[in-house]
Protein backbone atom coordinates (compact mmCIF):
# COMPACT_ATOMS: atom_id res chain seq x y z
CA UNK A 1 0.00 0.00 0.00
CA UNK A 2 2.65 2.50 1.02
CA UNK A 3 4.76 1.54 -2.01
CA UNK A 4 1.76 2.30 -4.21
CA UNK A 5 1.28 5.66 -2.55
CA UNK A 6 4.76 6.77 -3.61
CA UNK A 7 5.01 4.90 -6.89
CA UNK A 8 1.63 5.86 -8.33
CA UNK A 9 2.13 9.67 -8.30
CA UNK A 10 5.70 9.19 -9.53
CA UNK A 11 4.55 7.14 -12.53
CA UNK A 12 1.78 9.60 -13.31
CA UNK A 13 4.28 12.47 -13.20
CA UNK A 14 6.69 10.56 -15.45
CA UNK A 15 3.94 9.81 -17.96
CA UNK A 16 2.75 13.42 -18.05
CA UNK A 17 6.30 14.65 -18.56
CA UNK A 18 6.91 12.15 -21.37
CA UNK A 19 3.75 13.22 -23.18
CA UNK A 20 3.71 16.97 -22.52
CA UNK A 21 7.39 17.86 -22.23
CA UNK A 22 9.26 15.28 -24.34
CA UNK A 23 12.11 17.78 -24.75
CA UNK A 24 13.16 17.25 -21.15
CA UNK A 25 14.18 13.68 -21.94
CA UNK A 26 16.57 14.51 -24.79
CA UNK A 27 19.68 13.86 -22.67
CA UNK A 28 18.26 10.53 -21.52
CA UNK A 29 17.40 9.18 -24.95
CA UNK A 30 20.32 10.79 -26.85
CA UNK A 31 22.71 7.82 -26.49
CA UNK A 32 20.11 5.55 -28.13
CA UNK A 33 19.48 7.69 -31.19
CA UNK A 34 21.55 7.17 -34.34
CA UNK A 35 24.45 9.55 -34.68
CA UNK A 36 23.25 12.98 -35.76
CA UNK A 37 19.62 11.79 -36.01
CA UNK A 38 16.65 13.24 -34.12
CA UNK A 39 16.21 12.07 -30.52
CA UNK A 40 12.68 13.21 -29.75
CA UNK A 41 9.74 12.36 -32.03
CA UNK A 42 8.45 15.62 -33.46
CA UNK A 43 6.46 14.66 -36.53
CA UNK A 44 3.25 14.82 -34.48
CA UNK A 45 2.46 15.98 -30.99
CA UNK A 46 2.71 13.11 -28.52
CA UNK A 47 -0.31 14.50 -26.72
CA UNK A 48 -2.54 14.26 -29.77
CA UNK A 49 -1.20 10.77 -30.57
CA UNK A 50 -1.90 9.70 -26.95
CA UNK A 51 -5.42 11.08 -27.03
CA UNK A 52 -6.16 9.43 -30.33
CA UNK A 53 -4.66 6.15 -29.06
CA UNK A 54 -6.73 6.25 -25.87
CA UNK A 55 -9.81 7.29 -27.84
CA UNK A 56 -9.51 4.28 -30.14
CA UNK A 57 -9.05 1.93 -27.17
CA UNK A 58 -11.96 3.48 -25.27
CA UNK A 59 -14.31 3.32 -28.25
CA UNK A 60 -13.41 -0.29 -29.08
CA UNK A 61 -13.63 -1.37 -25.43
CA UNK A 62 -16.95 0.37 -24.95
CA UNK A 63 -18.51 -1.37 -27.94
CA UNK A 64 -16.91 -4.69 -26.93
CA UNK A 65 -18.30 -4.29 -23.41
CA UNK A 66 -21.81 -3.54 -24.64
CA UNK A 67 -21.80 -6.46 -27.07
CA UNK A 68 -20.10 -8.95 -24.71
CA UNK A 69 -22.24 -8.10 -21.67
CA UNK A 70 -25.37 -8.09 -23.84
CA UNK A 71 -24.44 -11.51 -25.17
CA UNK A 72 -23.70 -12.81 -21.66
CA UNK A 73 -27.08 -11.54 -20.46
CA UNK A 74 -28.81 -13.19 -23.41
CA UNK A 75 -27.25 -16.62 -22.93
CA UNK A 76 -27.96 -16.63 -19.19
CA UNK A 77 -31.70 -16.10 -19.78
CA UNK A 78 -33.84 -19.21 -20.27
CA UNK A 79 -34.56 -18.19 -23.88
CA UNK A 80 -30.87 -17.90 -24.79
CA UNK A 81 -29.44 -20.83 -22.85
CA UNK A 82 -29.27 -22.95 -26.02
CA UNK A 83 -26.86 -20.45 -27.61
CA UNK A 84 -24.35 -20.56 -24.78
CA UNK A 85 -21.88 -23.08 -26.26
CA UNK A 86 -22.10 -21.44 -29.71
CA UNK A 87 -21.50 -17.95 -28.33
CA UNK A 88 -18.44 -19.12 -26.43
CA UNK A 89 -17.04 -20.68 -29.58
CA UNK A 90 -17.53 -17.47 -31.53
CA UNK A 91 -15.90 -15.32 -28.83
CA UNK A 92 -12.99 -17.77 -28.72
CA UNK A 93 -12.51 -17.56 -32.47
CA UNK A 94 -12.37 -13.75 -32.15
CA UNK A 95 -9.49 -14.23 -29.75
CA UNK A 96 -7.52 -16.75 -31.87
CA UNK A 97 -7.40 -14.46 -34.93
CA UNK A 98 -4.09 -12.59 -34.85
CA UNK A 99 -4.80 -8.83 -34.78
CA UNK A 100 -2.47 -8.32 -37.72
CA UNK A 101 -4.56 -10.70 -39.78
CA UNK A 102 -7.72 -8.85 -38.82
CA UNK A 103 -6.10 -5.59 -39.90
CA UNK A 104 -5.02 -7.07 -43.22
CA UNK A 105 -8.48 -8.45 -43.87
CA UNK A 106 -10.30 -5.32 -42.76
CA UNK A 107 -8.33 -2.82 -44.84
CA UNK A 108 -9.86 -3.80 -48.19
CA UNK A 109 -13.34 -3.46 -46.66
CA UNK A 110 -12.86 -0.37 -44.51
CA UNK A 111 -9.88 1.37 -46.07
CA UNK A 112 -6.86 2.74 -44.24
CA UNK A 113 -7.22 4.62 -40.97
CA UNK A 114 -8.97 4.02 -37.68
CA UNK A 115 -11.68 1.65 -39.01
CA UNK A 116 -9.71 -1.61 -39.28
CA UNK A 117 -7.99 -0.93 -35.95
CA UNK A 118 -11.32 -0.47 -34.23
CA UNK A 119 -12.55 -3.76 -35.67
CA UNK A 120 -9.43 -5.61 -34.55
CA UNK A 121 -9.52 -4.15 -31.05
CA UNK A 122 -13.22 -4.86 -30.75
CA UNK A 123 -12.89 -8.51 -31.79
CA UNK A 124 -9.89 -8.97 -29.57
CA UNK A 125 -11.60 -7.41 -26.58
CA UNK A 126 -14.79 -9.47 -26.72
CA UNK A 127 -13.64 -12.73 -25.17
CA UNK A 128 -12.30 -11.65 -21.76
CA UNK A 129 -15.34 -9.47 -21.12
CA UNK A 130 -17.79 -12.10 -22.32
CA UNK A 131 -16.21 -14.92 -20.30
CA UNK A 132 -16.10 -12.85 -17.11
CA UNK A 133 -19.60 -11.45 -17.46
CA UNK A 134 -20.82 -15.00 -18.07
CA UNK A 135 -19.03 -16.24 -14.95
CA UNK A 136 -20.43 -13.35 -12.92
CA UNK A 137 -23.98 -13.85 -14.10
CA UNK A 138 -23.99 -17.63 -13.71
CA UNK A 139 -22.41 -17.83 -10.24
CA UNK A 140 -24.73 -15.50 -8.36
CA UNK A 141 -25.49 -16.61 -4.79
CA UNK A 142 -28.65 -18.77 -5.08
CA UNK A 143 -30.22 -17.39 -1.87
CA UNK A 144 -29.98 -13.87 -3.27
CA UNK A 145 -31.56 -14.67 -6.65
CA UNK A 146 -34.26 -16.69 -4.90
CA UNK A 147 -35.01 -13.79 -2.57
CA UNK A 148 -35.07 -11.35 -5.49
CA UNK A 149 -37.72 -13.47 -7.16
CA UNK A 150 -39.56 -14.13 -3.91
CA UNK A 151 -40.04 -10.50 -2.91
CA UNK A 152 -41.56 -9.63 -6.27
CA UNK A 153 -38.91 -8.14 -8.57
CA UNK A 154 -39.79 -8.51 -12.25
CA UNK A 155 -37.27 -10.03 -14.68
CA UNK A 156 -35.91 -6.63 -15.70
CA UNK A 157 -35.70 -5.41 -12.13
CA UNK A 158 -33.84 -8.56 -11.12
CA UNK A 159 -31.35 -8.06 -13.95
CA UNK A 160 -30.76 -4.36 -13.37
CA UNK A 161 -30.96 -4.17 -9.59
CA UNK A 162 -29.46 -7.47 -8.52
CA UNK A 163 -27.79 -9.59 -11.19
CA UNK A 164 -25.74 -6.98 -13.06
CA UNK A 165 -24.55 -5.15 -9.91
CA UNK A 166 -23.49 -8.45 -8.35
CA UNK A 167 -21.70 -9.55 -11.52
CA UNK A 168 -20.03 -6.14 -11.87
CA UNK A 169 -16.73 -6.80 -10.04
CA UNK A 170 -16.02 -9.94 -12.10
CA UNK A 171 -17.12 -8.23 -15.31
CA UNK A 172 -14.83 -5.28 -14.54
CA UNK A 173 -11.90 -7.69 -14.31
CA UNK A 174 -12.70 -8.82 -17.84
CA UNK A 175 -12.97 -5.23 -19.05
CA UNK A 176 -9.63 -4.44 -17.44
CA UNK A 177 -7.89 -7.35 -19.22
CA UNK A 178 -9.49 -6.34 -22.47
CA UNK A 179 -8.49 -2.67 -22.14
CA UNK A 180 -4.88 -3.55 -21.35
CA UNK A 181 -4.66 -5.92 -24.31
CA UNK A 182 -6.20 -3.21 -26.51
CA UNK A 183 -3.71 -0.56 -25.32
CA UNK A 184 -0.85 -2.71 -26.54
CA UNK A 185 -2.55 -4.01 -29.66
CA UNK A 186 -3.57 -0.53 -30.82
CA UNK A 187 0.07 0.27 -31.60
CA UNK A 188 0.04 -2.00 -34.65
CA UNK A 189 -2.93 0.00 -35.92
CA UNK A 190 -0.37 2.53 -37.11
CA UNK A 191 0.70 0.07 -39.82
CA UNK A 192 -2.64 0.83 -41.48
CA UNK A 193 -2.44 4.56 -40.79
CA UNK A 194 -4.48 4.79 -37.60
CA UNK A 195 -3.18 7.60 -35.42
CA UNK A 196 -1.80 5.87 -32.36
CA UNK A 197 1.37 5.89 -30.32
CA UNK A 198 2.43 2.98 -32.54
CA UNK A 199 3.44 5.66 -35.05
CA UNK A 200 6.39 6.60 -32.83
CA UNK A 201 7.49 3.00 -32.38
CA UNK A 202 7.15 2.15 -36.06
CA UNK A 203 9.02 5.29 -37.10
CA UNK A 204 11.81 4.20 -34.74
CA UNK A 205 11.92 0.69 -36.22
CA UNK A 206 12.00 2.02 -39.79
CA UNK A 207 14.85 4.44 -39.12
CA UNK A 208 16.75 2.25 -36.69
CA UNK A 209 16.09 4.85 -33.99
CA UNK A 210 15.92 3.06 -30.62
CA UNK A 211 15.17 6.35 -28.89
CA UNK A 212 11.82 6.58 -30.74
CA UNK A 213 10.99 2.95 -29.97
CA UNK A 214 11.72 3.42 -26.31
CA UNK A 215 9.82 6.68 -26.12
CA UNK A 216 6.68 5.24 -27.70
CA UNK A 217 6.94 1.98 -25.81
CA UNK A 218 7.41 3.71 -22.48
CA UNK A 219 4.34 5.88 -22.92
CA UNK A 220 2.12 2.96 -23.97
CA UNK A 221 3.50 0.86 -21.12
CA UNK A 222 2.87 3.56 -18.52
CA UNK A 223 -0.69 4.08 -19.75
CA UNK A 224 -1.31 0.34 -19.48
CA UNK A 225 0.14 0.05 -15.98
CA UNK A 226 -1.72 3.07 -14.62
CA UNK A 227 -5.08 2.19 -16.18
CA UNK A 228 -4.71 -1.40 -14.94
CA UNK A 229 -3.94 -0.13 -11.46
CA UNK A 230 -6.86 2.29 -11.47
CA UNK A 231 -9.31 -0.42 -12.46
CA UNK A 232 -7.96 -2.80 -9.83
CA UNK A 233 -8.66 -0.11 -7.24
CA UNK A 234 -12.26 0.24 -8.41
CA UNK A 235 -12.78 -3.54 -8.36
CA UNK A 236 -11.36 -3.83 -4.88
CA UNK A 237 -13.59 -1.08 -3.58
CA UNK A 238 -16.66 -2.77 -5.04
CA UNK A 239 -15.65 -6.19 -3.76
CA UNK A 240 -14.91 -4.88 -0.28
CA UNK A 241 -18.33 -3.31 -0.06
CA UNK A 242 -19.94 -6.64 -0.91
CA UNK A 243 -17.91 -8.36 1.76
CA UNK A 244 -15.94 -10.58 -0.61
Amino acid sequence: MSVGRVLRPALIALLLALVLRPGWFEPVFAPLAPEGGPVIYERASLLSLSLSHLGLVAAASLVATIVAVGLAIFVTRPAGAAFRPLSRTIANIGQTFPPVAVLALAVPALGFGAGPTLVALFLYGLLPIFENALTGLSTLPPAVTEAARGIGLSRWQRLLRVELPLALPVTLTGIRLSVVIALGTATIGSTVAARTLGEVIIAGLLTNNTAYVLQGGLIVGLFAVLIYDGMVQIEQRLARRMGA
Binding site: P141, A143, E146, A147, A148, G152
Partner: protein, 311 residues
Protein backbone atom coordinates in the same frame (compact mmCIF):
# COMPACT_ATOMS: atom_id res chain seq x y z
CA UNK B 1 -57.57 -16.27 5.64
CA UNK B 2 -55.44 -18.47 3.41
CA UNK B 3 -57.22 -21.34 1.68
CA UNK B 4 -55.23 -24.03 -0.07
CA UNK B 5 -57.61 -26.01 -2.22
CA UNK B 6 -56.53 -29.51 -3.37
CA UNK B 7 -53.24 -28.26 -4.73
CA UNK B 8 -50.99 -30.70 -6.63
CA UNK B 9 -47.53 -30.43 -8.15
CA UNK B 10 -46.28 -33.07 -10.56
CA UNK B 11 -42.58 -33.31 -11.44
CA UNK B 12 -41.66 -35.80 -14.17
CA UNK B 13 -44.79 -37.86 -13.55
CA UNK B 14 -44.26 -37.94 -9.79
CA UNK B 15 -46.45 -36.08 -7.38
CA UNK B 16 -44.26 -33.87 -5.17
CA UNK B 17 -47.37 -32.43 -3.57
CA UNK B 18 -50.47 -34.58 -3.76
CA UNK B 19 -53.83 -32.86 -3.47
CA UNK B 20 -53.20 -30.89 -0.30
CA UNK B 21 -56.01 -28.80 1.18
CA UNK B 22 -55.83 -26.69 4.30
CA UNK B 23 -56.93 -23.38 5.71
CA UNK B 24 -54.91 -20.94 7.79
CA UNK B 25 -56.76 -18.33 9.83
CA UNK B 26 -55.64 -14.70 9.75
CA UNK B 27 -53.26 -13.82 12.56
CA UNK B 28 -51.99 -17.36 13.18
CA UNK B 29 -48.76 -19.23 12.58
CA UNK B 30 -49.08 -22.45 10.62
CA UNK B 31 -45.93 -24.56 10.62
CA UNK B 32 -45.51 -27.08 7.82
CA UNK B 33 -43.19 -29.79 9.02
CA UNK B 34 -41.78 -32.83 7.25
CA UNK B 35 -38.61 -34.61 6.21
CA UNK B 36 -36.66 -33.53 3.15
CA UNK B 37 -38.50 -34.59 0.01
CA UNK B 38 -41.86 -34.48 1.76
CA UNK B 39 -43.02 -31.65 -0.51
CA UNK B 40 -43.23 -29.04 2.24
CA UNK B 41 -41.06 -26.46 0.47
CA UNK B 42 -42.84 -27.06 -2.85
CA UNK B 43 -46.16 -26.51 -1.09
CA UNK B 44 -44.92 -23.20 0.34
CA UNK B 45 -43.47 -22.06 -2.99
CA UNK B 46 -46.77 -22.71 -4.74
CA UNK B 47 -48.46 -20.17 -2.47
CA UNK B 48 -46.47 -17.25 -3.92
CA UNK B 49 -46.15 -19.01 -7.28
CA UNK B 50 -42.41 -19.50 -7.27
CA UNK B 51 -43.70 -22.88 -8.42
CA UNK B 52 -46.83 -23.05 -10.53
CA UNK B 53 -49.33 -25.64 -9.22
CA UNK B 54 -50.15 -28.47 -11.63
CA UNK B 55 -53.72 -28.30 -10.38
CA UNK B 56 -55.67 -26.78 -7.52
CA UNK B 57 -55.87 -23.24 -6.26
CA UNK B 58 -54.74 -20.97 -3.44
CA UNK B 59 -56.97 -18.14 -2.21
CA UNK B 60 -55.81 -15.26 -0.03
CA UNK B 61 -58.75 -13.53 1.67
CA UNK B 62 -60.96 -15.03 -1.00
CA UNK B 63 -58.92 -13.90 -4.05
CA UNK B 64 -57.34 -16.59 -6.19
CA UNK B 65 -53.56 -16.18 -6.53
CA UNK B 66 -53.85 -17.23 -10.18
CA UNK B 67 -55.61 -13.96 -11.07
CA UNK B 68 -52.57 -11.65 -10.81
CA UNK B 69 -49.09 -11.67 -12.37
CA UNK B 70 -46.68 -13.67 -10.16
CA UNK B 71 -44.33 -10.78 -9.36
CA UNK B 72 -47.24 -8.52 -8.41
CA UNK B 73 -48.67 -11.28 -6.20
CA UNK B 74 -45.31 -11.71 -4.45
CA UNK B 75 -45.21 -8.06 -3.41
CA UNK B 76 -48.25 -8.76 -1.24
CA UNK B 77 -46.66 -11.83 0.33
CA UNK B 78 -43.59 -11.58 2.55
CA UNK B 79 -40.90 -14.15 1.86
CA UNK B 80 -38.00 -15.05 4.17
CA UNK B 81 -35.60 -17.91 3.47
CA UNK B 82 -32.76 -19.85 4.99
CA UNK B 83 -29.51 -17.94 4.68
CA UNK B 84 -31.52 -14.67 4.55
CA UNK B 85 -30.75 -13.85 0.87
CA UNK B 86 -30.07 -10.17 1.58
CA UNK B 87 -28.78 -8.13 -1.33
CA UNK B 88 -25.06 -7.79 -0.53
CA UNK B 89 -24.68 -4.54 -2.50
CA UNK B 90 -27.47 -2.73 -0.64
CA UNK B 91 -27.42 -1.33 2.88
CA UNK B 92 -29.64 -2.75 5.61
CA UNK B 93 -32.07 0.15 5.08
CA UNK B 94 -32.30 -0.44 1.32
CA UNK B 95 -32.75 -4.16 1.84
CA UNK B 96 -35.66 -3.62 4.20
CA UNK B 97 -37.09 -0.94 1.90
CA UNK B 98 -37.02 -3.23 -1.14
CA UNK B 99 -40.72 -4.09 -1.31
CA UNK B 100 -42.11 -0.69 -0.17
CA UNK B 101 -39.94 0.82 -2.94
CA UNK B 102 -41.45 -1.56 -5.47
CA UNK B 103 -44.87 -0.48 -4.25
CA UNK B 104 -43.91 3.22 -4.66
CA UNK B 105 -44.37 4.24 -1.06
CA UNK B 106 -43.37 7.86 -0.38
CA UNK B 107 -39.74 8.19 0.76
CA UNK B 108 -40.41 9.49 4.28
CA UNK B 109 -42.93 6.74 4.92
CA UNK B 110 -40.34 4.15 3.85
CA UNK B 111 -37.70 5.68 6.12
CA UNK B 112 -40.12 5.64 9.03
CA UNK B 113 -41.05 2.00 8.37
CA UNK B 114 -37.39 0.92 8.19
CA UNK B 115 -36.62 2.50 11.56
CA UNK B 116 -39.77 1.05 13.08
CA UNK B 117 -38.80 -2.46 11.97
CA UNK B 118 -35.20 -2.14 13.12
CA UNK B 119 -36.55 -1.06 16.52
CA UNK B 120 -38.96 -3.98 16.55
CA UNK B 121 -36.04 -6.38 16.01
CA UNK B 122 -33.98 -4.67 18.72
CA UNK B 123 -31.45 -3.23 16.28
CA UNK B 124 -30.50 0.40 16.90
CA UNK B 125 -31.56 2.17 13.63
CA UNK B 126 -28.75 4.76 13.73
CA UNK B 127 -26.21 2.01 14.09
CA UNK B 128 -27.55 -0.50 11.56
CA UNK B 129 -29.33 1.53 8.84
CA UNK B 130 -26.20 2.17 6.79
CA UNK B 131 -24.44 -1.17 7.24
CA UNK B 132 -23.94 -3.71 4.49
CA UNK B 133 -25.04 -7.33 5.04
CA UNK B 134 -21.39 -8.46 5.17
CA UNK B 135 -21.01 -6.33 8.30
CA UNK B 136 -23.76 -8.18 10.20
CA UNK B 137 -23.63 -11.31 12.33
CA UNK B 138 -25.66 -14.34 11.23
CA UNK B 139 -28.44 -13.58 13.69
CA UNK B 140 -28.61 -9.91 12.71
CA UNK B 141 -28.69 -10.73 8.99
CA UNK B 142 -31.52 -13.19 9.61
CA UNK B 143 -33.50 -10.53 11.51
CA UNK B 144 -33.02 -8.07 8.66
CA UNK B 145 -34.22 -10.80 6.28
CA UNK B 146 -37.46 -11.18 8.27
CA UNK B 147 -37.80 -7.39 8.58
CA UNK B 148 -37.54 -7.13 4.78
CA UNK B 149 -40.30 -9.71 4.44
CA UNK B 150 -42.56 -7.77 6.84
CA UNK B 151 -41.78 -4.30 5.49
CA UNK B 152 -44.88 -3.71 3.36
CA UNK B 153 -47.26 -5.20 5.95
CA UNK B 154 -48.04 -8.17 3.72
CA UNK B 155 -51.26 -10.20 3.97
CA UNK B 156 -49.16 -13.28 4.52
CA UNK B 157 -45.58 -14.09 5.45
CA UNK B 158 -43.98 -17.23 4.02
CA UNK B 159 -40.83 -18.51 5.71
CA UNK B 160 -38.73 -21.38 4.36
CA UNK B 161 -36.51 -22.78 7.13
CA UNK B 162 -35.76 -19.20 8.19
CA UNK B 163 -33.69 -20.24 11.19
CA UNK B 164 -31.96 -23.22 9.58
CA UNK B 165 -28.55 -21.55 9.32
CA UNK B 166 -28.43 -20.25 12.90
CA UNK B 167 -26.73 -21.88 15.86
CA UNK B 168 -29.05 -23.29 18.55
CA UNK B 169 -28.87 -20.42 21.04
CA UNK B 170 -29.44 -17.72 18.44
CA UNK B 171 -32.15 -19.85 16.86
CA UNK B 172 -34.13 -20.02 20.11
CA UNK B 173 -33.91 -16.26 20.44
CA UNK B 174 -34.98 -15.76 16.83
CA UNK B 175 -37.99 -18.02 17.39
CA UNK B 176 -39.01 -16.08 20.50
CA UNK B 177 -38.59 -12.80 18.59
CA UNK B 178 -40.75 -14.07 15.76
CA UNK B 179 -43.49 -15.19 18.15
CA UNK B 180 -43.41 -11.85 19.96
CA UNK B 181 -43.50 -9.81 16.75
CA UNK B 182 -46.21 -11.97 15.21
CA UNK B 183 -48.45 -11.47 18.28
CA UNK B 184 -47.77 -7.75 18.24
CA UNK B 185 -48.47 -7.26 14.52
CA UNK B 186 -51.10 -9.97 14.16
CA UNK B 187 -49.35 -11.32 11.06
CA UNK B 188 -50.42 -14.48 9.28
CA UNK B 189 -47.39 -16.74 8.87
CA UNK B 190 -46.74 -20.03 7.11
CA UNK B 191 -43.39 -21.48 8.03
CA UNK B 192 -41.63 -24.58 6.73
CA UNK B 193 -39.24 -26.57 8.92
CA UNK B 194 -37.93 -30.10 9.36
CA UNK B 195 -37.67 -29.55 13.10
CA UNK B 196 -40.71 -30.76 15.09
CA UNK B 197 -39.43 -28.93 18.17
CA UNK B 198 -39.57 -25.66 16.23
CA UNK B 199 -43.02 -26.54 14.86
CA UNK B 200 -44.40 -27.16 18.36
CA UNK B 201 -42.79 -24.08 19.80
CA UNK B 202 -43.99 -21.68 17.08
CA UNK B 203 -47.14 -23.10 15.57
CA UNK B 204 -50.72 -22.30 16.43
CA UNK B 205 -51.36 -25.11 13.97
CA UNK B 206 -48.94 -27.75 12.77
CA UNK B 207 -49.27 -29.40 9.36
CA UNK B 208 -47.27 -32.61 8.93
CA UNK B 209 -46.30 -33.55 5.37
CA UNK B 210 -45.16 -37.02 4.32
CA UNK B 211 -44.38 -38.06 0.73
CA UNK B 212 -46.36 -35.18 -0.76
CA UNK B 213 -49.45 -35.70 1.36
CA UNK B 214 -50.76 -33.75 4.33
CA UNK B 215 -51.04 -36.43 7.01
CA UNK B 216 -52.15 -34.33 9.97
CA UNK B 217 -53.14 -30.71 10.48
CA UNK B 218 -53.91 -29.90 14.09
CA UNK B 219 -52.88 -27.94 17.16
CA UNK B 220 -49.44 -28.82 18.60
CA UNK B 221 -51.04 -30.43 21.66
CA UNK B 222 -53.24 -32.60 19.46
CA UNK B 223 -50.26 -33.64 17.29
CA UNK B 224 -48.33 -34.71 20.38
CA UNK B 225 -51.19 -36.41 22.18
CA UNK B 226 -52.82 -38.11 19.18
CA UNK B 227 -50.42 -38.50 16.25
CA UNK B 228 -52.49 -39.53 13.23
CA UNK B 229 -49.94 -41.93 11.75
CA UNK B 230 -46.82 -43.82 12.66
CA UNK B 231 -44.85 -41.20 10.74
CA UNK B 232 -46.22 -38.32 12.80
CA UNK B 233 -45.43 -40.24 15.99
CA UNK B 234 -41.87 -40.73 14.73
CA UNK B 235 -41.55 -37.03 13.95
CA UNK B 236 -42.78 -36.14 17.42
CA UNK B 237 -40.38 -38.66 18.94
CA UNK B 238 -42.19 -41.10 21.24
CA UNK B 239 -39.72 -40.78 24.07
CA UNK B 240 -39.98 -37.01 24.22
CA UNK B 241 -43.74 -36.74 23.91
CA UNK B 242 -44.51 -36.00 27.56
CA UNK B 243 -41.82 -33.33 27.68
CA UNK B 244 -43.02 -31.74 24.46
CA UNK B 245 -46.56 -31.68 25.81
CA UNK B 246 -45.40 -30.06 29.04
CA UNK B 247 -43.45 -27.45 27.10
CA UNK B 248 -46.75 -26.16 25.65
CA UNK B 249 -48.43 -25.47 28.98
CA UNK B 250 -47.62 -22.30 30.98
CA UNK B 251 -47.20 -22.50 34.77
CA UNK B 252 -50.13 -20.12 35.24
CA UNK B 253 -52.45 -23.05 34.43
CA UNK B 254 -51.40 -25.21 37.37
CA UNK B 255 -50.34 -22.65 39.92
CA UNK B 256 -51.83 -23.36 43.38
CA UNK B 257 -51.78 -21.58 46.73
CA UNK B 258 -48.86 -22.32 48.96
CA UNK B 259 -45.21 -21.56 49.33
CA UNK B 260 -42.12 -23.37 48.10
CA UNK B 261 -38.41 -23.11 48.70
CA UNK B 262 -35.75 -21.97 46.30
CA UNK B 263 -35.56 -19.95 43.10
CA UNK B 264 -38.89 -18.85 41.61
CA UNK B 265 -40.07 -19.19 37.99
CA UNK B 266 -42.21 -16.68 36.05
CA UNK B 267 -45.87 -17.63 35.45
CA UNK B 268 -45.35 -17.79 31.66
CA UNK B 269 -42.56 -20.37 31.94
CA UNK B 270 -43.59 -23.85 30.76
CA UNK B 271 -44.27 -26.93 32.87
CA UNK B 272 -41.17 -28.42 31.28
CA UNK B 273 -39.05 -25.64 32.75
CA UNK B 274 -40.64 -26.26 36.19
CA UNK B 275 -40.13 -30.04 35.96
CA UNK B 276 -36.53 -29.50 35.01
CA UNK B 277 -36.02 -27.09 37.94
CA UNK B 278 -37.62 -29.55 40.40
CA UNK B 279 -35.53 -32.50 39.25
CA UNK B 280 -32.29 -30.58 39.12
CA UNK B 281 -32.58 -29.05 42.59
CA UNK B 282 -34.43 -31.97 44.27
CA UNK B 283 -37.54 -29.94 45.12
CA UNK B 284 -41.18 -31.11 45.19
CA UNK B 285 -42.46 -27.67 44.19
CA UNK B 286 -41.23 -24.36 42.79
CA UNK B 287 -42.48 -20.88 43.68
CA UNK B 288 -44.21 -18.96 40.88
CA UNK B 289 -44.01 -15.20 40.45
CA UNK B 290 -45.98 -12.87 38.23
CA UNK B 291 -44.92 -9.30 37.59
CA UNK B 292 -42.46 -9.57 40.47
CA UNK B 293 -44.86 -10.77 43.17
CA UNK B 294 -45.36 -14.36 44.37
CA UNK B 295 -48.62 -15.94 43.20
CA UNK B 296 -48.19 -19.47 44.63
CA UNK B 297 -46.32 -22.61 43.69
CA UNK B 298 -46.28 -25.37 41.10
CA UNK B 299 -45.92 -28.92 42.44
CA UNK B 300 -44.42 -32.00 40.84
CA UNK B 301 -47.70 -33.81 41.44
CA UNK B 302 -49.63 -31.21 39.45
CA UNK B 303 -47.11 -31.41 36.60
CA UNK B 304 -47.43 -35.19 36.54
CA UNK B 305 -51.22 -34.90 36.49
CA UNK B 306 -51.06 -32.69 33.40
CA UNK B 307 -48.65 -35.03 31.63
CA UNK B 308 -51.12 -37.88 32.19
CA UNK B 309 -54.20 -35.84 31.32
CA UNK B 310 -54.35 -37.06 27.71
CA UNK B 311 -55.12 -40.63 28.78
Amino acid sequence: MIEIDSITKVYNGEKAVDSVSMTAETGTITVIVGTSGSGKTTLLRMINRLEEPSSGEVRINGDSTADVKPHILRRRIGYAIQGHGLFPHHTVARNIAAVPELLDWPKDKIRERVDELLDLFSMEPDQFRGRYPAELSGGQAQRVGVARALASRPDLLLMDEPFGALDPIIRTRAQEDLRRIQRRLGSTIMLVTHDMEEAIRLGDRVAVMDAGRLVQHASPAEIIANPATEFVADMVGNVERPLRLLSLIPLSEIVEDGAAEGEALPADASLRDALSACLWTGREAVPVVQDGSAVGCATLAAIRARAEAHR
